[in-house]
């Protein structure tokens, strides 16, 4: 069995590996590209004489804007430092953003400021300006101080932009220390622009922590003292020298640090300045400027120069650092969300196709992917499925790649422009590169993730606010407007929810296909994926219509309830979809409403022994539910801009419900297994459930199918007893048997899963039952015999009593209806009766049936003792006793001399999970069989694929052989009739044709037989009981009922098929097949039954006729189920009370 958890594990690992490989490639590119950019800059600027612009009155004017908030302690020194910058045409604007301290008074005093009239020309909307100050001292004539109400950094910068008059503006944090020639170096790229307009330019920012600073100048550069500080020193080198330089060279730079950057003022004004609604205003502005230029179709560039121009204090406490990184993450998300339209939009060139996707995939998703990696690792650890060597190698690889990147960054920085010149610093940086991944990096990841969460918290509270606004304005609307608003708002939301859900659902379908592709080698993958997607897409749209309507109804109550509903429903649907396709992959059976006919204990046992029910799988399903619910929860916070998509999602489904789309669904070129594989499992399950519900309610059935003729069977006595008829089965068997002095015994062996395909040389898998083959040569043998059901539940009532199904199988009827069967009729005639089963007799409620029939020896696993051997356990659960044990048990219980007797044996070993004792021995026998000339080449291909199943068949065959050998030694053997058949074919071995599910061998062997005979006509299990009783009635004068309710009309030996009509029940919820004469009707398709196969035919007349017969049967069956009566009580009482 393919372990579900293992495969999920592999998929998860691959996802991470692919992402890591992408990270590795991108960073390799950055490293190489940045190196070139740094070298080029250095080469081009070795001889630059900045003197030509330093004091040139014709050089462009720069406005330096420094917002300050509560910087009273250092502001005077900082401004002095700014005033000493080398650049003639410079205007220094300090914006006091409503500081609560004495910043402004200190500035006034230190620089001899006076408040002046100032007409603000810029038009960006800002918080009010309280006053503008200029110095009376001409030495400070470059200085302009703006005092304004507090509005945040972006707002303060906008005021600066409004006030400024330079061609270019430089925005800095006031606590930054600029190199004296910083403006000169920034100005050069602006002056050098030729064919492309330079809209923004940044420089390298270095850490001021622990540096020696005198008079606002860095005089001695040192690495920070704290570990956190040093890690950031390294991080800044990586970011500025590698990342930004590479992106700058590739014209993809979208971040100029807020701490220090220069911009073209005209473009900034045209763009409307900084966005005050984001915490990442620096990046947002650059993206918006680039967007503006892209839309205006003007060539432009954004560059970064590898010059350390600005020194800033970085946080050295974990708390402040975390808050900073948290803010960066939110800023990134806000910008990406605001400009989401650009993402992968070729209209926006590199910005849309490269830069923003890079930021999304690596800068934004990076910490989240890493964090989810830790979570997944933890889960794997708990589940014990970590592959340690793989983990360690990968971990070492990731860490060492990171270290290499850092060391490389230090090297490039060294080549470019050495800042840390002391030998000790160089070594410390290398040591930091090695240590940082273990203490600093996790911290930034954690802060990133918490920023991610905070982002949604914030947008959540926003959502609340806008909703309040909406409802307030809604109060003033007319009822008609309110309704329109309700629907458009709802449709906008629904559109997004439906889109997100569709993506997740279609992913699950894709996973389903991949799963089948890996599990089944012989599958036609193209066929399956095509129809799998068609069927699932049709179902998805229908589902979305229904869910959409429910969503709207719940929205009437409250939006939150509707959202909650949709999240839970979606999680359930997705989990079910995975569960259902895994069930199919495991059992090759589509799960339908039959699920509801098993008790929880039965389901538990099935799951446990199949190995699917374990902590790992349950945890994975829970994880899956969470993986569905969380993104949907996020999606409910947003909506589409237009309502059309939402409306389309609802309408398409309804259209699909009306038009007959099943014609586009699964084609018929393929075998049944592939057709089933290509079906939407969830659609099937829901369809099956609703049909099942309808069939359980005859009044609904009548209403839905009013045209079904109430064709009265000629033998039919009473409408109340639709199946009651005169017993008139002719004796077919008598002529083949020698008449015995004693009444013969009967032993019926029902072999679990014994399909024709692998128990006959004619089967497509070949014979894996050498003993049964040899026996059939000495027996009456029907090659084309059909069981009544696709599962075990039908075997007992059909073989013993030729009984109808009711709603979900005869055994499922709560109180067994009065009826005749081989057990009670033969017992009435003096037979000792017994039923032998190695498992739990309450499975499929067999015990109720047997108890009703007053069987003398009901033997199940509880009755076996230590003497007998159980089947091996799977996940701590064994189905019960092996076949050898069951056969021996029967011989032990059934004493010689207590004749006549009727025993029925139901075997077990050939059932999923196909575990037997002594596997090696039977594998050997299997190999010999495969090698022998009894198996053809095409059969060999099948056999090798299903070796596991077939080995158990070899085991069963051998057990049967031993059983017969032992039996032969008993005196009662000579006077016993053996009937050997299967209950259905194994669904685990793919079915070539629909009918193969039911095709099982039927062998009647007895030492009393006059001759062996092979029959080619079609018979069914329904025929066994009538034939046996006719035989005993005719030949041994046994008393049998005159009126019966059975389906079969006895075994026949001729090809003549007319008059045979019987249904086949695929699973407990589905009566989908009907046999009439030599035709097989299945889901509106008609097949002609040939001697060894069936063929799809187009014959509308016959099809309609048989469909009528089928509906007629269904109606009778429903009547039976609602009355739960087969035979009038009076007849039963009369029969059994009569003395023999």
């Amino acid at each position: 069995m393919i372990d579900f958890a293992h495969t999920v594990y592999i998929i998860v690992i691959w996802l991470f590996l692919i992402y890591s490989a992408a990270v590795f490639l991108v960073y390799s590119w950055i490293g190489i590209y940045a190196f070139g950019a740094v070298r080029r800059y250095k080469n081009e600027n070795t001889f630059t004489d900045y003197g030509i612009i330093a004091s040139n009155p014709n050089a462009p004017t720069f406005s330096l804007i420094a917002p300050a908030y509560n910087e009273g302690l250092t502001i005077v020194d900082n401004v002095r430092s700014l005033l000493s910058l080398y650049y003639h045409n410079l205007e220094i604007i300090i914006v006091n953003d409503g500081s609560k301290d004495d910043s402004i008074t200190k500035l006034i005093a230190a620089y001899d400021l006076e408040r002046v009239s100032f007409f603000v020309q810029g038009t960006i909307e800002t918080k009010p300006v309280k006053g503008i100050y200029k110095s009376k001292n001409p030495a400070f004539k470059k200085l302009l101080v703006v005092d304004k109400e507090n509005g945040g950094k972006a707002d303060a910068l906008n005021v600066g932009i409004n006030v400024s008059s330079g061609e270019y503006m430089v925005c800095i944090d006031v606590d930054c220390i600029l190199e004296q020639d910083a403006i000169l170096k920034l100005a050069k790229p602006f002056l050098e622009q030729t064919d492309k307009r330079l809209i923004a330019c940044g420089g390298v920012i270095r850490l001021a922590n622990n540096c020696k600073i005198e008079n606002g100048k860095v005089v001695s550069v040192n690495l920070p003292k704290s570990r956190l500080g040093r890690a950031q020193a390294l991080e800044y080198i990586r970011a500025f020298v590698l990342g930004r330089m590479a992106w700058s060279r590739a014209s993809g730079l979208i971040l100029i640090s807020g701490a220090f950057g220069a911009f073209d003022r005209e473009i900034v004004l045209k763009c409307g300045g900084y966005d005050t609604a984001t915490v990442g205003e620096d990046m947002e502005l650059v993206v918006r400027m680039r967007r503006f230029m892209e839309e205006a179709k003007e060539p432009y560039e954004v560059v970064n120069i590898p010059e350390p121009l600005c020194w800033t204090e970085v946080p050295e406490s974990k708390d402040i650092l975390s808050r900073q990184r948290n803010r960066w993450m939110r800023g990134t998300m806000e910008t990406l969300w605001k400009h989401r339209k650009l993402m992968f939009n070729p209209k926006y060139g590199k910005l849309g196709m490269v830069s923003l996707p890079y930021w999304f995939l690596f800068e934004f998703l990076g910490p989240l992917v890493e964090f989810s990696g830790y979570v997944v690792f933890l889960i794997f650890l708990l589940l014990g499925i970590v592959n340690w060597p793989f983990f360690f190698v990968l971990f070492a690889l990731v860490i060492s790649t990171g270290i290499l990147y850092s060391v490389y960054a230090v090297l490039v920085d060294l080549v470019g422009r050495q800042v840390y010149t002391k030998r000790k610093d160089f070594l410390t940086l290398i040591a930091t590169a090695v240590a940082e991944p273990f203490y600093f990096h996790p911290l930034t990841v954690k802060a990133g993730v918490s920023g991610f969460i905070d982002y949604f918290k914030k947008s959540h509270s926003w959502g609340e606010m806008t909703r309040q606004g909406f409802s307030q304005s809604a109060k003033q609307l007319s009822p008609k407007q309110k309704i329109t608003m309700f629907f458009t708002a709802g449709l906008k939301k629904w559109g997004l929810i439906a889109a997100a859900f569709s993506v997740m659902y279609l992913i699950s379908v894709f996973v389903e296909w991949i799963w089948y592709k890996n599990s089944f080698n012989d599958m036609d993958t193209v066929f399956v994926i095509k129809y799998l997607f068609i069927s699932n897409t049709i179902f998805l749209f229908k589902l979305l219509s229904v869910l959409g309507v429910l969503y709207f109804i719940l929205r009437l109550l409250k939006e939150k309830i509707a959202n909650f509903f949709i999240i839970v429903a979606a999680a359930l649907i997705i989990v079910s979809q995975y569960g259902l396709f895994l069930y199919f992959a495991e059992t090759k059976n589509i799960l339908g409403a039959d699920l509801f006919y098993y008790s929880s204990a039965e389901i538990h046992q099935i799951l446990r022994s199949s190995g699917m029910l374990n902590v790992k799988n349950v945890a994975l399903l829970l994880l899956l539910a969470a993986a569905t619910a969380i993104p949907l929860f996020m999606v409910t916070k947003y909506s589409f801009k237009s309502w059309y998509a939402g409306a389309v999602f609802i309408i398409i489904g309804f259209i699909l419900m009306v038009i007959p789309v099943h014609k586009f669904q699964v084609g018929f070129i393929s075998n049944e297994f592939q057709q089933n594989a290509a079906k939407s499992k969830l659609s099937y399950f829901i369809g099956s459930y609703s049909e099942n519900y309808i069939s359980g309610h005859p009044e609904l059935f009548q209403w839905l199918y009013p045209n079904v003729e109430a064709a009265i069977d000629s033998n039919n006595f009473d409408d109340k007893y639709p199946f009651l008829k005169e017993e008139d089965t002719a004796d077919f068997l008598g002529s083949y048997f020698n008449k015995s002095d004693e009444i013969p015994n009967i032993v019926v062996v029902i072999v679990e899963g014994l399909g024709h395909a692998y128990s006959s040389p004619n089967g497509y898998v070949g014979s894996f039952t050498p003993f049964i083959d040899s026996l059939s040569g000495k027996s009456l043998y029907w090659d084309f015999n059909l069981s009544s059901s696709g599962r075990t539940f039908g075997a007992l009532p059909t073989i013993a009593g030729s009984l109808p199904f009711g709603k979900s199988g005869f055994l499922e009827i709560e109180e067994t209806p009065q009826h005749y069967n081989l057990f009670n009729v033969l017992k009435y005639n003096g037979f000792e009766t017994g039923f032998f089963y190695g498992g739990n007799i309450s499975f499929d409620r067999m015990d109720k049936f047997l108890e009703y029939s007053k069987v003398d020896h009901i033997t199940d696993q509880a009755s076996f003792g230590d003497k007998y051997q159980k089947l091996p356990q799977s996940n701590g659960e064994s189905w019960g006793y092996e076949d050898q044990a069951v056969f021996t048990k029967m011989l032990d219980v059934q004493k010689e001399g207590n004749e006549p007797y009727f025993n029925m044996i139901l075997t077990l070993s050939t059932h999923n999970p196909f575990l037997i004792n002594n596997t090696a021995y039977y594998e050997n026998r299997f190999d010999e069989q495969v090698k022998s000339n009894r198996i053809t080449n095409s059969q060999k291909n099948w056999a090798l694929q299903y070796k596991k199943q077939l080995v158990t068949v070899m085991n069963l065959d051998h057990a049967l052989e031993k059983f017969f050998n032992t039996y032969k030694k008993r005196s009662d053997f000579a006077n016993t009739i053996f009937i050997i058949t299967g209950d259905h074919s194994m669904p685990e071995i793919p079915l070539q044709e629909k009918i193969d599910r039911y095709r099982v061998p039927l062998i009647i062997y007895s030492p009393l037989l006059k001759q062996s005979q092979r029959f080619t006509n079609i018979v069914s299990h329904f025929d066994i009981a009538p034939s046996l009783l006719a035989y005993y009635r005719t030949n041994y004068n046994l008393k049998t009922p005159a009126k019966v309710a059975w389906f079969g009309n006895g075994l026949k030996g001729t090809v003549e098929m007319t008059g045979k009509r019987f249904p086949l029940m695929q699973s407990k919820d589905q009566i989908a097949d009907f046999i009439s004469g030599s035709y097989h009707l299945n889901q509106n398709n008609l097949y002609a039954l040939k001697t060894n196969n069936e063929e799809l035919i187009e014959n509308e007349v016959t099809k309609n006729k048989i469909t009528k017969q089928f509906n007629n049967f269904k109606q009778k069956n429903n009547t039976f189920y609602s009355s739960q009566k087969l035979i009038p009580d009076s007849l039963i009482v009369e029969f059994f009370s009569n003395n023999k």
Partner: protein
């Protein structure tokens, strides 16, 4: 089957990753090694720099007669390639900083150490930045022999090279070095214009013909550079040609034309400005107002007042008010600042211009 297949994959992956891990470790070693090597050579360079600096300053301070004993160190390294290149680099940058005798001393060092070989070698390199360095060197050291080669570099595809060649031509030949403008089809960046203008100290008398030709160039940057050239050397004879450029298709050219006319001012200038004013875009109008501000001609009071009161564009109003102030109408402005007859906006603008204390 699937499980086995996937397990094999994992097994293979471990092997692949192990290989990659080893490669990464080797690369780490290589980068570290190279890093230390780079660090060492940088340290060397720093040591050499201080030696060279002291050698250069000694040469300047003590000059030829008092030639100091060359240090052992300097002597031993003076044949080393990388040392010589550094020395060359240092001499070139020092030469730019000094003038007169000091420059001659540096030139002497250059000749003494026969650094011209390195300079020529650099000039013949294939790497643009080295060629650019070579051009700077031969220029700084006045190696006229190399001039023909430098001239060829005017057509070099790399901007760094042809920019440096242009500069060299002007340094070597003065005004006639600008001949490349006749056929220039690349953009002269502002930076390059500043450099060229800066290096041009004087012009001969018979320049008008070529200047006129450049003013008609289809290369906008050539026209703008020429206007700046006219400004710098006050080439009054070209007044009319410049005036014509007030109606040039490019706004940037018009702006520079205004600035140039301001420099070339004669008694017709104000009328020319007044004539052109209504036909100009805002940026040019601003420049005209700014130029008129310094005209010192009170006759334009009404014009400025109209601009202040009736002009819808704020920047122009402010400029008009500033002009009024410059022309000495501060009293009148003070009245306007408190006049109820004008709008609040105008009063604010006037106050702003008056820089009134609040």
């Amino acid at each position: 089957m699937g499980t086995v297949h996937l397990s094999i994959l994992i097994h293979d992956l471990v092997l692949i990753f192990l290989t990659v891990l080893v490669l990464i470790l080797i690369m780490m070693g290589a980068v570290l090694f190279y890093g230390f090597y780079q660090y060492k050579s940088l340290k060397n360079k720093r040591d050499w720099e201080s030696v060279i600096d002291s050698r250069v300053s000694n040469a300047i301070v003590f000059s030829e007669e008092k030639e100091v004993q060359e240090s052992e160190f300097f002597h031993s390294h003076s044949q080393e390639g990388s040392f010589r290149n550094l020395l060359l680099e240092k001499l070139v940058s020092s030469k730019k900083k000094f003038s007169g005798v000091a420059q001659d001393e540096i030139q002497r060092l250059f000749v003494n150490y026969e650094l011209n070989k390195e300079a020529v070698q650099n000039l013949n390199s294939t790497k643009p930045y080295i060629i650019a360095g070579g051009i700077q060197e031969v220029t700084a050291m006045k190696m006229t022999d190399s001039l023909p080669q430098v001239e060829k570099y005017l057509k070099h595809p790399a901007a760094q090279v042809y920019n440096e060649a242009q500069y060299a031509m002007v340094v070597f030949k003065g005004f006639s070095g600008l001949a490349f403008l006749n056929t220039l089809d690349t953009v002269l960046s502002d930076w390059q214009q500043l450099r060229l203008l800066g290096s041009l100290q004087m012009i001969p008398n018979d320049t008008d013909l070529s200047v006129e030709l450049w003013l008609k160039s289809s290369n906008l940057s050539v026209v703008i550079f020429t206007l700046k050239l006219i400004q710098k050397f006050q080439m009054l004879a070209l007044y009319d040609q410049v005036k014509g450029l007030l109606y040039h298709a490019s706004e940037k050219v018009r702006l520079n034309a205004v600035l140039t006319l301001q420099v070339l001012e004669n008694d017709r200038t104000k009328d020319d400005f007044m004539e052109a004013y209504p036909l100009q875009p805002v940026k040019v109008q601003l420049a005209i107002l700014r130029a008129m501000k310094y005209s010192n001609d009170k006759r334009y009071y009404d014009f400025f007042m109209t601009q202040l009161n009736n002009q819808p564009i704020v920047a122009l109003k402010i400029e008009a008010a500033q002009a009024l102030l410059a022309l000495g109408f501060s009293e009148s402005l003070k009245e306007t600042a408190h006049s109820k007859a004008v709008s609040e906006q105008i009063r604010e603008i006037v106050k702003h211009v008056l820089q009134q204390k609040i």
